[in-house]
Amino acid sequence: MLPDGSGYFGNYGGRFVPETLMPVLGELTDAYTKAKADAAFWVEFDRLSRDYSGRPTPLFFAEQLTKNGGGARIFLKREDLAHTGAHKINNALGQGLLARRMGKQRIIAETGAGQHGVATAAVCSMLGMECIVYMGKEDVRRQSLNVFRMKLMDAEVRPVASGSGTLKDAINEAIRDWVTNARDTYYLLGSVVGPHPYPMMVRDFQQVIGKEARQQIQDQFGRLPDYVVACIGGGSNAMGIFYPFLDDRGVRLVGVEAAGRGLATGEHAATLVAGNIGVLHGAKSYVLQDHSGQIKEAHSISAGLDYPGVGPEHSYLKDIRRVTYVGVNDQEALEGFQLLCHTEGITPALESAHAIFYAVRLAGSLEKKQIVIINLSGRGDKDMGIVADALKVKL
């Protein structure tokens, strides 16, 4: 069972944080371990997942998309239909319930595209907790709709101007807040990144995606899929859908990173494809860095993938070759985005559009009897402005 007692997945993970946070992470691990063993905690999680988040989300046979691909049957795991529009609600709900159990009233979070911020704001609103969301200045600009949604749910959104003004800087600022207010504040981290126990805990709350998908495909088809494809920024939706399939050796898993303007330009967010080993935000993992160990700014058309790090468990899965990691660039993601609108009348998040582009091409190279599941991690309403700009359409 990974991670080990020190929070390592093979060589990756751990706790590279200031001393101030070490005791706090210890408490958090203890609290989570107890909650995990408590059936009542999961009864509550399952109840709210059903009645609040709308789980289970459907597994949809995308017939037109399949025709377009011209090969394997393509299924979409519809996380876009979950409350607040993405898989992020699963983790926000789980950690929100944990924070309540721990008696913490002040919740802080970081957000890139705003999906995790919105999910956290929603859960805090529902559970009656204070919510502060750190968001890069650049992301505040390009995801203004989500900023407004968070504010409507009484969250305070704090723009972060340092660095590139994106997700990496929002996490830095959230950690600074946490270091300062460690005693009464719960840091509701939104992906499978950060110091132990976050990568484990976020994975555990997200694996509901894979568990459902694994059951649904067997119910519908009587067998497991040949491929599962998901996009990767920090890697939480991918970890969530991959995890329950890890022991199914016949199921190939593909993680799709953002190749941005192209791997050769250096302007991308393909950490596993093009990065190397380093330490960022409390964990050892693959990172994008220069020759002197400075973290590089990532680039992606999708704010949710725009991150120069990745969860340590993905680094481990790359090294043991259980998961294949590939890159899809901005232009290709836009194609994937439009393709799903045309074929199925579904507007995907730009993040998920990376997985769609790759999976459709993959399906085309496979036989008709084979099955590909795409994790449609979120819906694209938030991206309308960006897509319109990219397509040179005036709204």
Binding site: S6, E19, P23, S162, N172, L280, G293
Partner: protein, 265 residues
């Protein structure tokens, strides 16, 4: 005894430790300010290696790091600057770096080059002892002091762990938070220091949030040394070092007024 440890040995007074970011506002200033700090009464100087994501630092040091990176400062350049400074000053020089630049340089190579450049110790704010095992072996072999930190949130068992491992001195973070000037020291500081003192044999130095002579004096009453960073960085902004000298001297005078002999025998 290491150069670092001997600077706390009686009859030495309370240690004044100054922090500067290497290459802020430029490299020329770094080469001038360290000898000046030594002349004005600093017993140890911490040389900050700039990092892109300094998550334990407040706004002042974030900005100085950013500026230093814009000036093209790398760990390699910091080592070269340290080598030049070592020819100018005798006081211990300590590197403060986040872990990733050190990891990227190569742990063994970095420690070896530190020794070559005359560096005495290493402070890595995002490397708790649990993650420092490999680096510890290398630093011990080569005689570089790896200095660990404790915080007001540290439990008794963590205090014991860190006290067992830290060499040179123990860095006590005065307050749960990031670096930067604050209007007052936390009320429970004496209690925290006392908790550590019962366990630790090393000299105890207090840092984070100390920016005036009065605060330095207050901290020195309970500790063996005082670390001042952000205030120096603020004063260096223009590159005119007169104010830095005046401030360093005022800290020195303040510390010299505090009775000695808090070190355990």
């Amino acid at each position: 005894m290491s150069r670092l440890a001997s600077s706390f040995k009686p009859p030495a007074g309370k240690a004044l430790i100054g922090y500067i970011t290497v290459g802020y506002p430029d490299i020329k200033t770094t080469l001038e300010v360290v000898p000046l700090l030594a002349k004005c009464g600093c017993d140890i100087v911490e040389l900050g290696i700039p990092f892109s994501d300094p998550l334990a630092d407040g706004v002042t040091i974030q900005k100085s790091s950013f500026r230093a990176l814009q000036n093209g400062v790398t760990p390699k350049i910091c080592l070269e600057i340290a080598r030049q400074l070592r020819q100018k000053v005798d006081i211990p020089l300590v590197f403060m770096s986040y872990f990733n630049p050190v990891l990227s340089y190569g742990l063994t190579e970095f420690v070896t080059d530190c020794i070559r450049s005359g560096i005495d110790g290493l402070i890595i704010p995002d490397l708790p002892p649990e993650e420092g095992v490999e680096l510890e072996v290398i630093t011990r072999q080569r005689g570089l002091d790896l200095i660990y930190l404790l915080a007001p949130t540290s439990t008794e068992s963590r205090i014991r762990l860190v006290a067992e491992k830290s060499l040179g001195f123990l860095y006590l973070v005065s307050v749960a938070g990031v670096t930067g000037t604050r209007s007052r020291l936390p009320a429970d500081l004496a209690g925290f220091v006392a908790r550590v003192r019962t366990v630790a044999k090393q000299p105890l130095c207090i840092g984070f949030g100390i920016s005036t002579a009065a605060q330095a004096k207050q901290a020195a009453r309970i500790a063996d040394g005082v670390i001042v960073g952000s205030r120096f960085i603020q004063l260096m902004k223009t590159g005119n070092l007169d104010a830095v000298a005046v401030f360093a001297k005022s800290l020195r005078y303040a510390l010299d007024e505090v009775p000695r002999l808090t070190l355990k025998k």
